[in-house]
Symmetry: C2
Subunit: 313 residues, 2 copies
């Protein structure tokens, strides 16, 4: 049997009882290491499982799938994934490959950021499509996510934005020289995420229309109003969700962008852009961790721009 | 400590190791029994936990929250929820109540239908807002979900449709007479769900425009074309997801509506309406369980209407 087992979000004990029993039966145990991370290291998992854990890099999963699957028609093999195992395309791929080789497979589900974001108090039902934000560089700022965000905002639903993770990244120089030396892992902080979101918003919806106009005498096209005005859009940062040091901060985009990296702390992080269908109970719950407390922009904008009334408990 | 603990989707062993350790420490253990069900009964949970399990009805949670929370500032109390604990508003409510009483709380996450629907092969990232479909009666057919579905279809994202569950329901007669006699629990089957979806679609977008026109000489307004033509819309049924008897069926809405209740089998069920942003890998994966196999409408409509090309493995 080829098991694909979710590990949940925090540490070695977030595996399900069923998942742990399966791991204990397995001859080889792989840990997918490039789409997410736990708060504990491989050694702690090995001690808990009493098994060796093999780190599976992206290259290994994409190029050596048959080695991972080897003998799983005869013995049990586990492929461990942080969160729920079917969040990322790559693992669907591996399951399709297994099935084409007539290997029996079993998926053992677990919590993922997509369920744990209930911790914000926002209802999972009210979320639209999920976005991924990659690290911008001076020359590379892929922003096709912005259209998807606008689609969500237009219909008033919330948006989960997943933040980039770079592991086993090579510098351009090392890559050019063919040296297999990797940079330290990088995890995007909400500080950077909010900056990138504001940057893209300002480029797409310049405040001063003349800055984007041309001087060729063409008639000016009135720019469309932004769906994401920074002082009138609510957002929430989610740090280390599902772990004992979990931290949530809610506020306007403008307020959150002014917080330092240290305010959010260690990875992993993600952020949520709040849609206009905000419900009073969602508003109340997420307001408990508002920047500036009772005087914060969360309450003012929620009431005046989103039109939500507070509930009392 | 007041623990709110997710149980996952199938049986007693889908609880996490951390969740189980917490339950073992608790003085009282409640099981929320009205938003979802496990495939095993209370007795099996009690045997596994070596604890008594108290069934928490909707009335108890909504009206007697303080009794559930009693003493949880001094001893450990567990509130168990099938799936992930923060999927339904009611539990957010309970946590807010606990916090207003200065009771420390901890949420232990788990898999929910929202992550497990990765089993369809559809990417969770590509889902829009989630809908709930309630049992229609002769006189009561609430269909505000249809607008939300159209919002999703317009931007091409997939839609998860959760199906109604009726537990501890009273007949009108028993309610009128004040008799606390409850009807057997009912769980909506995809057969009924697809029928209701087609019914609402046909009422909103009559095929024969004359059937909805008035004879008062007013100029006819051309009806908007349906975003959900039954023979050109792909859908998937999800039955007992995350359990050993899990069953998925994909096809056109028209094909799926023709299947009998028995084809889908026992509860719980949900259904997915597939959006136009369908990716080739999603198409391929979900096609493995298409009605009619290789000759089914899934492949024809996916190619001709959704414009997706097949991948090979």
């Amino acid at each position: 049997m080829f098991y694909v087992i979710g590990l949940g979000l925090s540490d070695e004990k977030d595996i399900t009882v069923k998942g742990l029993e399966a791991v204990k039966r397995c001859e080889r145990v792989y840990l997918e290491s490039y789409t997410s991370i736990l708060m504990v290291d491989k050694e702690r998992l090995e001690a808990f499982y009493e098994k060796e854990v093999i780190i599976a890099t992206r290259e290994m999963v994409e190029l050596e799938a048959d080695e991972i699957l080897r003998d799983s028609d005869k013995v049990d093999i586990a492929f461990l994934v942080v969160g729920d195992p079917l969040g990322a395309t790559t693992h669907t791929d591996l399951l399709l490959r297994a099935r084409s080789l007539q290997i029996p497979t079993q998926v053992i589900h677990n919590a993922s950021i997509l369920t744990a974001l209930g911790s914000t108090g926002l209802q999972m039902y009210n979320f639209g499509q999920t976005l991924s934000l990659v690290f911008y560089t001076e020359t590379w700022r892929p922003d096709s996510w912005f259209e998807r965000l606008e689609e969500n905002l237009r219909i008033g639903v919330h948006t989960l934005v997943l933040l980039d993770i770079k592991v086993r990244e090579q510098s351009e120089e090392n890559m050019a020289r063919g040296r297999l030396i990797y940079e330290p892992p990088r995890y995007m902080n909400p500080h950077q995420a909010f900056s990138q979101i504001l940057l893209t918003e300002s480029l797409r919806h310049p405040k001063d229309p003349s800055s984007s106009s041309s001087d060729d005498g063409e008639p000016q096209i009135e720019p469309k109003p932004s769906l994401l005005p920074p002082s009138e859009t609510l957002a929430i940062s989610l740090s280390r969700i599902g772990t004992p040091t979990q931290k949530l901060i809610s506020g306007t985009l403008e307020e959150l962008a002014q917080l330092s990296e240290e305010e959010f702390g260690d990875p992993l992080h993600s952020v949520v852009i709040v849609g206009k269908k905000l419900h009073p109970l969602e508003f109340e719950y997420a307001g408990r961790f508002a920047v500036g407390g009772e005087q914060g922009g969360w309450w003012k904008v929620g009431k005046e721009v989103y039109g939500v009334e507070r509930e009392t408990f």
